[in-house]
Symmetry: C2
Subunit: 455 residues, 2 copies
């Protein structure tokens, strides 16, 4: 251990190597519940690629595990420390190196905060779509590691679709450059995409070339109240079937609506069973909004309220953005699920989730990126109550089983981490697991990179 610290210090400034156990302990966890975390031996905060390479060379020489971290806002335990590890925080590598409106790319270090990048590119008339709920805290490196999504995905897709190329420090300290700066490129296997969503288990991303889009007009939204989540989901089905391309299509159930009101006092309609938010960011969103309003009414909406202007739309969007924190505030603890099902099965999923909640006597609030079929059932419980805690974990698992049964996936955008690694094998099957383990061994033959995660 003394060896580890002194070797690390040979290539890192004094201030970049943290060893005080109180301090290092504060880097042990991301935001997932129920995920064990070990005690790091040391936390390093490199500022340069060369420093990251030094960390990985040292870790390889001593066979010490390394856990890469962004802002630790992840929800699957992927960034949790393991005992005796080096926590490799990329938070200080936070420079935007380049924004190019002609190439429509940004080149960034991994510690750049999502919202900081989004605002910086907007000044050039550009748009970086991926917008996880934690966008004011989470980093691009973390977004790449977990393949994050957000509200924008129904129209603009997920993080993976915006990563053109990467610089990655491998487990042994070698530098790998993948991908390209150009709009297209197919030279060799797609190593770039392999790193997206690999949760720091294949290498340490130290630089990313990101694709940008022209900034769209401000979106205009409507809110529709439904007498049941099933009717709201039916509206989603019809909206998508009719070829609309909303920039946002979000569902909040009654529990979520009330939680948001209780956190923000914003006065959403509490009489509703389900609130659907739809928005369009086309030059003239009114025809689409009118058509969607009609679809909602036909599907059973009791009231449809269009926003008067982009500012009012932003307020509705804010309600959705705070939904997870609002649900978290309902009980001493929560588990946030992340099941994505085919859109056509959304109603079945939501109804069955309500039945699971009832059977276990629990509150489970559901908010969802409904247009993607990506749901976030939030299981509320009190960890001091052993039986309730057991029922919460059972519900959480039953929700994943339900998702698989309906043709979905155990994780739409939060990743596998520790939380779902038992479940990955069920979804992927033995052949895919074998191939994934084979790939892991190619990039990290000693198994020092984020061990125990994903698999």
């Amino acid at each position: 251990m003394g060896d580890l610290i002194s070797l690390l210090r040979e290539g890192l400034p004094e201030s970049a190597v943290l060893t005080d156990p109180d301090v290092t302990a504060s880097y042990a966890n991301d935001m997932a519940s129920f995920c064990p975390a070990g005690a790091p031996a040391v936390v390093v905060l490199p500022r340069t690629v060369e420093q990251v390479r030094h960390v990985m060379r040292t870790a390889t020489a001593l066979r010490v595990p390394v856990v890469p971290q962004g802002a630790r806002t992840g929800l699957s335990g992927a960034a949790n420390a393991v005992d005796g590890c080096v926590v490799l925080s990329l938070a200080k590598m936070d420079r935007i190196l380049e924004i190019d409106p002609v190439e429509r790319i940004a080149v960034v270090e991994p510690g750049v905060v999502n919202a900081v990048l989004s605002r910086a590119v907007l000044e050039h008339g550009l748009y970086y779509p991926p917008d996880p709920s934690s966008w004011e805290q989470c980093t691009i490196g973390g977004n790449i590691g977990t393949a994050s999504g957000g509200l924008c995905c129904v129209k603009y897709g997920v993080t993976a679709e915006y990563v053109l190329g990467l610089d990655v420090v491998l487990a042994d300290g070698r530098l790998l450059t993948t991908g390209r700066r150009t709009a297209k490129g197919v030279a060799g296997y797609d190593l770039t995409r392999l790193f997206v969503g690999s949760e720091g288990s294949l290498g340490v991303v130290v630089r990313a070339v990101l694709a940008l889009r022209p900034a769209p007009p401000a979106q205009l939204a409507l809110a529709a109240e439904f007498p049941s989540t099933a009717t709201a989901c039916e509206a989603v089905r019809r909206i998508m079937a009719r070829g609309h391309a909303p920039s946002l299509l979000e569902l909040m159930d009654r529990t979520t609506v009330r939680a948001v009101n209780s956190l923000t006092g914003m006065g959403l309609p509490e009489s509703t069973e389900a609130l659907l938010l739809a928005a369009f960011d086309t030059p003239d969103p009114r025809p689409d909004l009118a058509a969607v309003a009609e679809v909602c009414t036909a599907a059973g909406a009791t009231e449809v309220v269009p926003a008067d202007d982009p500012a009012e739309s932003e307020l509705l969007l804010h309600a959705r953005r705070v939904a997870l924190p609002a649900l978290e505030a309902l009980s001493p603890a929560t588990m946030i699920d992340d099941v994505c099902v085919p859109r056509g099965r959304l109603a079945a999923f939501v109804d069955a989730t309500a039945a699971i909640a009832e059977r276990h006597g629990l509150t489970i609030g559901v908010c969802a990126h409904a247009g993607d079929g990506n749901t976030h059932p939030v299981v509320c419980f009190d960890p001091a109550d052993e039986d309730e805690t057991r029922r919460a974990r059972e519900s959480f698992d039953e929700i994943m089983a339900l998702g698989l049964e309906l043709g979905g996936t155990i994780t739409g955008e939060h990743g596998v981490g520790l939380l779902k690694k038992e479940w990955l094998a069920r979804e992927a099957g033995p052949v895919a697991m074998e191939m994934q383990r084979g790939i892991k061994a190619v990039f990290d033959p000693l198994g020092i990179l984020n061990p125990g995660k994903v698999f």
Copy 2:
């Protein structure tokens, strides 16, 4: 050999095993120039997944190389036979299994022709964007293998962005399922994308889940004539910098324009040095077209001609679609390059390519997906003339070197195959090559899948 054929016949119908040397020889090549092709031992045309598995189990048992093939319209030699191989044609597995407007997916077998799928989904109001020039012949399986692009990419991206999940028969005959049917999903490493562009070297795609989009309105185009390719490229740079999102932005140089006229008699303006085509498929494309017309004029266009209606736009688009065959018709043989450079370097690239043509005393026509920086310089030569042939090959290589020097890639959408495998190492570097070889060994430890391609 007798062993191979009789073992293959145990799991394949009589008509699916072709051994007549005249017939098998006709499966030896794709459409690339200068790529050696061996003599296949046998061509198999399976119709079911089980038959493909039988082929791969047999090949593994006998250690016989297998070359997967679609329509053999590829331009890199990736589908060329090697001596004594099994050519595994997926052309007979051509069923569209599902088109779902709610999930916006199609599930297809690999032998479905691109244009057949495009027309089928359009009947459901849906759009499958990737549109390689060969779309009336090429298959979805081939498109996946080579990660094909097309004219649509400047707005809608390439094949890779439309592949959600795959069924793949591995080298040893096991069946691997990757990805998902849902809009989002991040469970484990992205094996799906690893297969896209892997040119049949990692496994045999037998089923694909493809993402679809709502069909956009018919596009409206304009043509702009420029006094030089450099001024046309400058217009491209400005159009993209100003945040326009054209559905098509294509460049044809004078050589290409004349070749198209000579093939089709369609009377494009031969006095122009470069013709730029731009189109928009928004509900009202006129404001964008007017703005682009202005940009073109300011950049030096001598004439800007807007199409009067979608039919006239289609005619312009057709001119671009036949550009490659038209250039091919100019000389006894051609080599088609596929260099993609940053948009801002397009003018430098086109000028330097003209200088290469002049230095070697050759005709090199350039057509380009200009909005992507993806160029197709077509080197014309007579293979009967040894010296000209040598100069053609030298030019071809110099164009790739130029692309790399300008920060581009040796292949934007045609792939590596045999044609560019010496060049892949130059672009990717030794670390990436080692990782790619490692991945190859995980999926195909005996090296029987399309040996000698890519690396």
